[in-house]
């Protein structure tokens, strides 16, 4: 089989703070096959965003971060890459979508300025005209009717849903092989969030993009993901195909997660009783869905 797009092995993360070390990730392993859409689910603070930032190489730039474990991207050991080459992957082969599209766009530059610079990551010699054309096509792909007007607008002049489309267009503009979607659109209202997720879902399918879909909204995960990893306090506690996991949740934490009623307001699955006995039980992998089985 071809190498998975992303493979994370025994990833550990700690922060060295004034008050001492805090351990955030306790050795998580996960992978994303080519074109696969994998969800990482867990409550706030469980270590989802830091995982994505490590994949991009952003946390490595932080002097307080202590990171160990293996990261392989399309068969290449990321830690063996020269910093320059590794940095080059960002925005070209890997890209990211964030929670709040409107605040993720710079308030003092029009959309096109940022879009152009994203395109220049893959093609530094790109001309203005060429960038404009590409941006217009990309915006049309996310069903934006007046791409010209949007390109010359500032984020604050556009609706949240429009900005989210812009973010999706930017994220896919360089045709990356991995998309990290960190609770995309959680800040938007529910219907808009659903619309834009559908759009993203269709596009990554067309492009064959592999996706790490970070969420705490199980309803969305169920619809969007092929496979699911459940993370609790820096440990993967359960993993399996989406179908398996939802029809037959095994780990006490997953069960609690599924039993908790999602808040209507774009939130997800909060308010789980703290530290119920079984939450710290070891990892449960569904049949055929363990790292070992899937990667053999």
């Amino acid at each position: 089989m071809t190498a998975p797009t992303l493979k994370i092995e025994n990833l550990k993360l700690g922060f060295k703070l004034w008050s001492g070390m805090i351990e955030v990730l306790h050795g998580i392993s996960l992978h994303i096959g080519k074109g696969e859409r994998v969800a990482l689910v867990g409550e706030s603070g469980s270590g989802k965003s830091v995982t994505a930032r490590i994949v991009l190489g952003m946390l490595q730039e932080m002097s307080s971060a202590r990171i160990s474990g293996g990261l392989t991207f399309e068969g290449i050991d990321l830690d063996k890459l020269k910093p320059r080459d590794r940095h080059h992957l960002r925005g070209t082969r890997m890209s990211m979508i964030f929670q709040d599209p409107t605040s993720s766009l710079n308030p003092v530059y029009p959309i096109f300025t940022q879009f152009r610079e994203v395109l220049a990551r893959a093609n530094p010699a790109i001309s203005d005209a060429e960038a404009r054309m590409k941006a217009i096509t990309a915006l049309a792909d996310v069903s934006i009717n007046e791409p010209e007007r949007v390109l010359d607008s500032y984020a604050f002049q556009l609706s949240g849903g429009m900005n989210q489309r812009v973010m999706i267009a930017m994220a896919l503009a360089n045709n990356p092989s991995l998309l990290l979607a960190d609770e995309p659109g959680t800040a938007l209202d529910v219907t808009v969030q659903a619309q834009t997720l559908k759009l993203m879902s269709d596009l990554v399918e067309q492009h064959g993009t592999s996706v790490l879909f970070i969420s705490h909204n199980l309803g969305v995960v169920r619809e969007f993901a092929d496979r699911v990893y459940v993370i609790y306090k820096g440990r993967i506690v359960e993993q399996g195909l989406t179908k398996q996991l939802f029809s037959n949740p095994q780990h006490p934490y997953t069960r609690a997660l599924l039993a908790a009623v999602p808040r209507i307001t774009g939130g997800g699955i909060p308010d789980i009783a703290e530290d119920t006995a079984g939450f710290h039980d070891p990892l449960i992998a569904h049949p055929g869905a363990s790292e070992k089985e899937l990667l053999s």
Binding site: H87, H88, S95, S104, N106, V108, Y109, Q114, F156, Q157
Partner: protein, 341 residues
């Protein structure tokens, strides 16, 4: 850009109101200071008759409201009255002394912007590193003493112990250069006199730097703190995630949004230099408005006091208008807003 025109119109209107307010205030205050201006002007040996004649000529026997009326009527003809100190038109005096002050303040402001802002950007980009620590320490030193203290220190060090720069004045004795507008850097340039230009610049550097130092420190610290805050914004995380270069992120994506809150304060600091310039001018015997201003106040030279204060307020207001315009240029929210900002 219609929004800019609208902002400009609004600011001009409010500035006019402020100027009228200032004129009333200073007009009244100048007349409340004890002492008879006519008596001071004519000296202790003048006869009571002569004093009475001058008082009459100055309308000092009329009500204060009537006096203000005369003043406004004259003002419309561009006439601020005669100074009893120099016996010349106040407008003439101001035209003589103001350029020296403005030149000093302008160059200081330039130093503040050209040194303070880049230092702040550098400090923010390398936050937490020795570069940042060094810049913060040095700029803290800059803000820790007022301009005239720096004026004395710099003069001692660079004009006295290590005499690189001249101690006083705007041109060397015997340079023989005849000013045209009074802005010497400008005058020397347009008359093609490079030697005189160098001479004028040489005289200007020390006082301007002394006046600028605390502004440089303040601008650097302000830009740093606003920019460090900006670095925590999602739109910076986004450009980092997309691999934009650290330099580009610093100079564009983090700098420009943080310039908006910084600009207003930098503008105020710049305007405050007009006031601080008085003390620096005294230290360097700079023939600006300060010597004149102090002299006319001590002599209760009514017209000159009112004229000087009005001109300085007007400068303040102009600086503020310029800053407001700059802010609206940098901030698209203001530039593009349909309703009055």
């Amino acid at each position: 850009m219609p929004a800019i025109v609208r902002i400009l119109a609004r600011r001009l209107a409010t500035s006019l109101v402020v100027l009228i307010g200032v004129s009333i205030l200073i007009f009244a205050i100048a007349r409340i200071i004890p002492g008879d201006p006519a008596r001071i002007a004519l000296g202790p040996n003048a006869t009571a008759d002569a004093v009475a004649v001058l008082r009459d000529k100055l309308h000092l026997n009329d009500s204060i409201i009537a006096q203000y009326g005369y003043f406004i009527a004259d003002l419309f003809h561009g006439d601020l009255g005669i100074s009893l100190y120099t016996n010349r038109a106040v407008t003439r005096d101001i035209a003589d002394f103001l350029p020296a002050t403005l030149e000093l303040v302008f160059v200081s402001g330039l130093m503040m912007v050209m040194l303070g802002i880049p230092l702040g950007v550098l400090s923010a980009r390398y936050r937490g590193t020795w570069i940042d620590h060094t810049i913060r320490l040095v700029t803290l030193l800059g803000v820790s003493a007022p301009g005239f203290v720096w004026a004395v220190i710099l003069m001692l060090v660079f004009a006295y112990f290590v005499p690189i720069f001249p101690v006083a004045g705007r041109l060397s004795d015997g340079s023989g250069f005849q000013p045209i507008t009074g802005f010497l850097l400008f005058d020397t340039l347009i008359s093609g006199n490079i030697r005189a230009f160098g001479d004028a610049l040489w005289h200007l550097i020390l006082p301007a730097f002394a006046l600028a130092l605390s502004g440089i420190g303040q601008a650097a610290r302000l830009v740093r703190s606003n920019m460090v805050e900006t670095y925590n914004k999602p739109y910076i995380e986004m450009v980092e995630a997309y691999g934009f270069s650290a330099r580009r992120i610093a100079n564009r994506y983090a700098f420009r949004p943080s310039l908006i809150p910084s600009l207003t304060i930098i503008g105020l600091d710049f305007a405050a230099m007009l006031g601080n310039a008085f003390l620096v001018e005294s230290v360097y015997a700079w023939p600006g408005l300060s010597k004149y201003g102090v002299a006319v106040i001590l002599r209760k030279d009514l017209n000159a006091i009112v004229g000087t204060v009005l001109i300085i307020s007007a400068m303040f207001l102009i600086v503020n208008i310029i800053v407001d315009l700059l802010v609206s240029v940098v901030n698209p929210r203001i530039r593009l807003s349909e309703r009055p900002a």
